[in-house]
């Protein structure tokens, strides 16, 4: 006796959160059943394995049918086939678009192309996330990217509007889209210690201050409906950054800058002498990073450069985080007292964001 056909259709679509998770995690029906058995559900409910198998199949079938709608979440809201309470719809969408930290670190900044998709096998092996789940997450990134890539206005708002994600998740996706678009390198060995959260934080700062969307608006207001795009860096701004080079090229300016910082920080830093010794190197590093950003290649290496030029030297001298903060504050602020320097606003736009990023990146 075999079940040829076995279905259950409720007027309100039944969603089992646990099974949904297993499905999202890419487990096959039999793996999912095995995991459910291990969770002790049989003992709790007195059900048999056959019942569990049938139940799991049923849920999987439902999820499979829902998947098409989840690709365009507003469709899920307006469709008539599955009657699902709004709170459940939100849960379905949010979970579907949620991603694994390990996975996102692998593809962050990579081109969301067929080529990357082919590498998913390796990512799956490396991270222990099932290939199916990797595919879903990758396709989600790509789908969101495709929809909002060319769109005007706030990136986060666009994502929220077209994918109905929570604020938190929309911001994460904004970071993913931003990284994918600018192809920032995040996979190098020396960047491995950074979490997705670190990058997302930097992305948000950069979107707020360095993109076209940031121009002309209070840069701290991310919700502003600026009539321009959030995904591309402001080319003009990058062009202008070359002007900062004078800070290290002009020896007098560099010396003045150094003495201003040292005077202000004397006695306040535990690593004062190291700072004094390294000042020129550090400053050269930071300013050169700015000056090079006009080249796409150097944009991609932004994080590598920041780590090499700033984070690593400081770390090797065992700067405490607080000293880094004091230094960066003083380093940025002192420029205002340099009479010969005319690009104060440009400096603030650059350094304001960079300071935030560096502080976030400076950890073990």
């Amino acid at each position: 006796m075999t079940n040829e056909l076995d279905i259950f259709v409720g007027n309100t679509t039944l969603i089992d959160e646990d099974v949904y998770r297993l499905w999202l995690d890419g487990y096959s029906v039999s793996d999912a059943v095995a995991r459910r058995v291990r969770s002790g559900i049989l003992e709790q409910t007195g059900a048999t394995a056959a019942v569990l198998q049938s139940d799991t199949m049923d849920h999987y079938r439902t999820f499979h049918m829902l998947e098409r709608l989840l690709h365009a979440p507003p469709k899920l809201l307006h469709q008539l086939i599955f009657q699902i309470p709004p709170s459940r719809q939100a849960l379905l969408i949010e979970r579907y678009y949620a991603f694994d930290e390990a996975f996102v670190r692998e593809v962050l900044g990579k081109k969301l192309s067929k080529g990357t998709k082919k590498d998913l096998d390796d990512i799956s092996t490396k991270t222990g996330i099932t290939l199916k789940s990797c595919r879903r997450q990758f396709d989600n990134f790509k789908r969101v990217f495709k929809v909002v890539e060319e769109m005007r206005g706030s990136l986060v708002d666009n994502i929220q509007q077209h994918f109905l994600l929570s604020d938190r998740l929309s911001r994460d996706y904004a970071a993913i889209v931003f990284f994918a678009n600018n192809r920032f390198e995040t996979g190098k060995k020396k960047l491995q210690y950074l979490s997705f959260g670190d990058f997302a934080f930097c992305a948000e700062l950069m979107i707020q201050n360095w993109t076209l969307g940031a121009v002309g608006e209070a840069p701290t207001n991310p919700d502003s409906q600026v009539d321009d795009m959030d995904v591309d860096l402001d080319k003009e701004f990058l062009q202008d950054l070359k002007e900062l080079k004078v800070l290290v090229a002009d020896k007098d300016l560099l010396d003045l800058h150094k003495s201003l910082v040292c005077t202000a920080l004397r006695g306040k830093l535990s690593v004062f002498s190291e700072m004094e010794a390294n000042f020129k190197n550090l400053s050269r590093g930071l300013v050169n990073v700015a000056a090079k950003l006009i080249h796409n290649k150097d944009v991609r290496d932004l994080f590598v450069d920041l780590i090499e030029k700033f984070v690593e030297p400081c770390r090797s001298d065992h700067w405490p985080l607080n000293d880094v903060r004091l230094f960066l504050n003083q380093y940025s602020a002192s420029v205002h007292s340099l009479d010969g320097f005319r690009h104060q606003t440009l400096w603030d736009r650059y350094m304001g964001t960079l300071r935030g990023c560096l502080l976030r990146l400076y950890h073990d």
């Binding site: 006796m1 079940n3 049918m65 008539l80």
Partner: protein
């Protein structure tokens, strides 16, 4: 030209991509009614076209309005080749044809294609203007209301219950016409869908004519079925109960049976309400359809006469003679009807006087190979024959009427089993005649009928019993005789005194049969039938005893015929009626008493059975008050099986075999184990696993012993098909497979719905079919309803409920205003009562809050409230005008309120535009009040695929199709302005597959009543202000639980 149909096509959305090059669609719409077609403009390059068309106007006969569906076809314009069809929408405009229902159909309908399923949605507005028609011999019956509900619909009062109406229509099945060889599957499916839609429209119109003939204005318990007879044709048949209904809440203006939405109709001579003096037999002749497009069909109407007066109530005699008088009156009232049958299963109080028992009849027929539409009487004659049999069975039980009546068929190739069953009963004539009932008679009746046990009293003559039976004096009133077991097909009467809870009882049976042709096959089946009936009956009886119960309600026995086997499935709800004697146990006796080990085995089994009975008694809380036999003063009831199923079967002949199921004179509850078969029977008795704790199940409307329903409901359909291994199939193996199939299905349901515990599966409806040689298909539709597990509060609540229920019936006007208000999603401080009745209602303001509190799961809440409840209980008894019915609600369910409410937790999904439509097989919605019936929903769909594997195999295919059917039902209800379907039933689910060809096809037929309901909690919020500070936290507690 009595009607103008107006249609406007507004917009489409989510259309499929029809042009691969542009990834877009150039859509336009054809609107067709009868032979007239209109087209919209082509809306270029969009998946969300905005046609915003003019009003397309069709001027048509109201006869056509009733028969024809409105057909909307969405197409993709193609300049170079033929336009591609995207899909269709059929809209039944019948609900627009009577006054109290919907006035406009407007909303998003899924665009359906029989090959691709749902492909986007279309927004349509439909209106009808009806003109006066003075022709009294007209063919239409606009204005007769139809209800699937098998009781008097909630917001109506039955003035007269006229009786049985039936009709059938046949046609050739398009699938078997020669043209089918050359047309596409899509064209063939659409031809079938359209034909069935036409036939059911016509059938409904004809039934309506009969109702007008009887001077009724409504059909209740309307059941329409299709018989797919294959090559010999397609039969659509319907039965129902004609009634004259009064809308309860509405003032006198609505009392006449309005025939149409237009006011002038009231002057039409046919539609005057039945009144004294015009109760004549001058019926207008029934005309067979003349202008009908279906020239091949036939229909024979069985004239069913209206009751034409009887002697006035000369009451005042003493008990005994009075009973005779009553019977005499009822008899005279009913004998004038050809078939005194009622499709109702629940009745107005006092309607049902006595219940005799189940009567059923079956007949095996060979479908005539030559289809001759000119000689159409065959099918009608078949049914007439069966009904006659039922009638005579009822008479033998001393009853003049049959209630809970239903008919069904099972077809395999050219063999067809026709079945009919019902419950023989004696009815109170007061509902069967016109309005004015002699007051004294009425009162007399009520005095004479003890509450809660009257219906159990035997209707037949004690000295002249129709079958050997054992009677005792009623355990409730001690005055009248009752049988020891009672089987019925109706719902448990609301006033019945019941001990403990009920439970679903099923008897399952398979019998192998040799493959045979024609007459030989029919004979083989007829020979098997009596044995199957006998065994099904024995199983039911044993299982009933095992549960420690003494009565079955809602009994439905289905016999299904297949190529090489017969299946029997009986479902019923067992209860312990307080009026009936306690059932005896089950004794097991072995045949060979000398064998020691064998005896040990027997005693072991006996112990197991006794344990099970004890366990069940505990589980279902069956602990009747002990009554010593002397007190009753009746002959000591021996445990002897007595209830009886009258049945007979015939094979196209008049040969009637009476089967005595009473097991002769021997003590029935001794099970003799004399062979392996018997052993297996005993084993199977013990294999039925009770539902897990927190679950109950029944196949009736309500679960006896549970009154404290909360508002969460989940209707579902589950389908399973198993393939039998064809090797060495024996009856035993077959039985086991079938038993396992049903038991596993139930187990799966319990598991799936575990989050609703404590809950009850109500109206569990199993259907068995044998689509192929080795396939068994079981389809279950039921609704899970949660209830409040706090048993301590239950009794109190029942009390409150009763008093309030009474109050609410005479205070219906309270229920009118919430309609407008409920859209204002739960204002924190509801409006101050503006109207008079608002103020009157606010006097009982404490109750809603407290009741809501009881439903909150936290026991602390309940504790806090229990003292409250006491207080309220006192209050409630003094309330004369109340708007609340009792059942507790946590969920806020007016769709708008629900939507808004959830906004808080799910901000991104705030603007969901799809309103929630509830579906339930029950006639009510727990915790809510039905305020309006919008019309009948009766839909037939075909779905076919030639890419079965790609659609997820058979399961994927059927799962998607059933979900689509639900969606289309919900969309139609929403377009009518409703928010629920009650009395929903999936009448047919015919599934055929051909995996080798990667093909499958499925036909589904569903029906129900579209309604508008209002949450009682919303009523409460609106009608009562919450004055005390106490109730505020309680209310919020309730909201959070959603």
């Amino acid at each position: 030209m009595p009607g103008k149909l107006k249609v406007k096509i507004v917009a489409g959305r989510h259309l499929p991509v029809m042009d691969r090059a542009s990834d877009l669609t150039d859509a336009f719409v054809e609107v067709k009614f009868g032979n007239t077609t209109f087209k919209t403009d082509v809306y270029l390059k969009s998946l969300n076209p905005q046609w915003n068309s003019e009003w397309f106007k069709f001027e048509v006969d109201d006869e056509d309005l009733q028969d024809e569906p409105l057909q909307i076809t969405v197409l993709d314009h193609d300049t170079y080749s033929a336009n591609d069809a995207i899909g269709k929408v059929y809209i039944d405009i019948d609900p627009l044809l009577y006054s109290e229902a919907a006035t406009v159909i407007s909303g998003w309908f899924p665009i359906y294609d029989t090959i691709h399923g749902i492909r986007g949605e279309i927004n349509v507005i439909v209106k009808v203007d009806l003109f006066n028609d003075l022709n009294r011999f007209r063919q239409s019956s606009c204005g007769v209301k139809f209800f699937c509900t098998t009781s008097i619909p909630k917001c109506y009062r039955a003035v007269i219950i006229h009786g049985f109406v039936e009709e059938l229509v046949v046609n050739e099945d398009p699938e078997y016409q020669w043209i089918d060889r050359i047309r596409t599957p899509r064209a063939s499916n659409e031809a079938r869908q359209r034909l069935i839609s036409l036939m059911s429209g016509e059938l409904q119109r004809k039934i309506g004519l009969k109702v007008l003939e009887m001077r009724g204005n409504a059909v209740v318990g309307y059941l329409q079925c299709f018989d797919l007879e294959g090559e010999s044709g397609l039969v659509v048949r319907a039965i129902g109960t004609a009634c004259t209904l009064d809308k309860l809440s509405s003032p006198a203006a609505f009392l006449p049976a309005c025939n149409s939405p237009s006011k002038e109709m009231k002057e039409s001579p046919l539609v005057h309400p039945p009144s004294l003096g015009c109760r004549s037999t001058q019926n207008s002749p029934i005309h067979t359809a003349t202008g009908s497009r279906l020239t091949q069909n036939f229909s024979v109407s069985v004239p069913t006469l209206i009751y034409t007066g009887m002697g006035s109530g000369s009451a005042g005699k003493e008990g005994g003679p009075f009973k005779a008088l009553l019977r005499q009156q009822t008899q005279s009232a009913l004998e004038q009807r050809e078939f005194p049958f009622f499709t109702l299963t629940a009745f107005p109080p006092g309607f049902l006087v006595h219940v005799g028992g189940v009567v059923s009849a079956r007949s095996v027929k060979l479908l005539d190979r030559i289809h001759n539409p000119d000689e159409p009487e065959t099918r009608d004659a078949w049914w007439a024959e069966i009904r006659q049999e039922i009638k005579s069975h009822a008479k033998a039980l001393g009853c003049h009427a049959v209630v809970g009546y239903s008919e069904s068929t099972s077809i395999c190739e050219e063999v067809c089993i026709l079945s009919a069953s019902g419950t023989a009963a004696v009815l109170n004539p007061r509902f069967l005649q016109d309005g004015t009932v002699e007051g004294c008679l009425e009162q007399r009746l009520e005095e004479n009928l003890p509450v809660g046990c009257g219906f159990c009293h035997i209707p037949y003559d004690e000295l002249n019993m129709p079958f050997p039976a054992h009677l005792t004096y009623c355990y409730n009133c001690r005055k009248q005789k009752v049988p020891d077991v009672l089987f019925t097909t109706i719902d448990l009467p609301t006033d019945a005194a019941v001990v403990g809870k009920g439970c679903l009882i099923q008897a399952r049976l398979c019998r192998l049969k040799k493959k045979a042709q024609a007459e030989a096959n029919a004979t083989a089946i007829s020979n098997l039938l009596p044995f199957m009936e006998y065994e099904v009956h024995t199983q039911l009886m044993n299982k009933l005893k095992l549960k420690g119960m003494n009565a079955l309600f809602g009994l439905r026995i289905q016999i299904t015929v297949g190529e090489n086997m017969l299946m029997g499935l009986a479902s019923a709800t067992g209860v312990y009626l307080a009026a009936l004697p306690t059932p005896g146990g089950i004794q097991i006796a072995g045949k060979t008493p000398n064998d020691g080990s064998y005896e040990q085995h027997i005693s072991h089994m006996q112990k197991k059975i006794n344990d099970t009975i004890a366990k069940n008694k505990e589980l279902y809380e069956i602990n009747p008050p002990e009554i010593s036999e002397e007190v009753i003063g009746s002959p000591i009831p021996e445990p002897r099986q007595r209830s009886r199923l009258l049945r007979s079967q015939s094979e196209s002949s008049d040969e009637v075999i009476e089967l005595d199921l009473s097991h002769g004179k021997k003590d029935a509850f001794v099970l003799e184990i004399d062979d392996t078969d018997a052993m297996e029977d005993v084993h199977s008795l013990l294999t039925d696993v009770p539902p897990p704790s927190g679950f109950y199940s029944c196949n009736t409307e309500i679960m006896p012993g549970i009154n404290n329903w909360t508002s969460e409901i989940q209707m579902f359909t589950s389908v399973r098909v198993i393939r039998l291994s064809s090797l060495n199939l024996t009856n035993q193996a077959l039985n086991k497979n079938f038993n396992d199939l049903c038991e596993n299905l139930l187990k799966s349901l319990y598991f799936k719905l575990r989050s609703m515990i404590p809950c009850c599966l109500c109206h569990v409806n199993f259907t068995v079919s044998l689509p192929e040689d080795e396939l068994i298909q079981v389809t279950v539709t039921a609704v899970a309803i949660t209830f409040d597990k706090n048993q301590a509060l239950q009794t109190i609540k029942t009390h409150v409920e009763k008093s309030l229920q009474r109050a609410s019936t005479d205070n219906e006007e309270l229920l009118q205003f919430p309609l407008e208000l409920c859209s204002d999603s739960l204002p924190p401080h509801p409006f101050p009562p503006a109207k008079e009745h608002l103020e009157s209602a606010s006097s009982n303001s404490g109750i809603p809050a407290a009741q809501r509190a009881t439903s909150v799961d936290y026991s602390s809440f309940a504790d806090r409230c229990s003292s409250w409840i006491e207080l309220i209980k006192l209050k409630a008894q003094t309330i004369r005008r109340g708007s609340i019915k009792t059942t507790v609600t946590v969920e806020k369910a007016s769709p708008v309120a629900e939507g808004n409410f959830r906004n808080r937790s799910a901000p991104p999904c705030a603007n969901s535009t799809v309103g929630v439509v509830k579906m339930t097989p029950l006639s009510f919605i727990p915790g809510a009040k039905i305020t309006k019936y919008l019309g009948i929903i009766n839909m037939f769909f075909i779905r076919e695929t030639t890419s079965l594997r790609e659609e997820g195999g058979v399961s994927g295919f059927l799962h998607a199709f059933i979900a689509e059917v639900f969606a289309m039902v919900r969309a139609h209800v929403a377009a009518l302005g409703g928010n629920a379907v009650v009395s929903y039933i999936m009448k047919q689910c015919v599934f055929m597959e051909n995996p080798n060809k990667n093909q499958a096809q499925c036909l589904i037929n569903v029906s129900g009543d579209a309604v508008v309901f209002v949450r009682e909690s919303d009523l409460e919020v609106i009608s009562t202000q919450q004055p005390t500070a106490n109730c505020q936290p309680l209310c919020t507690g309730g909201e959070v639980t959603t």
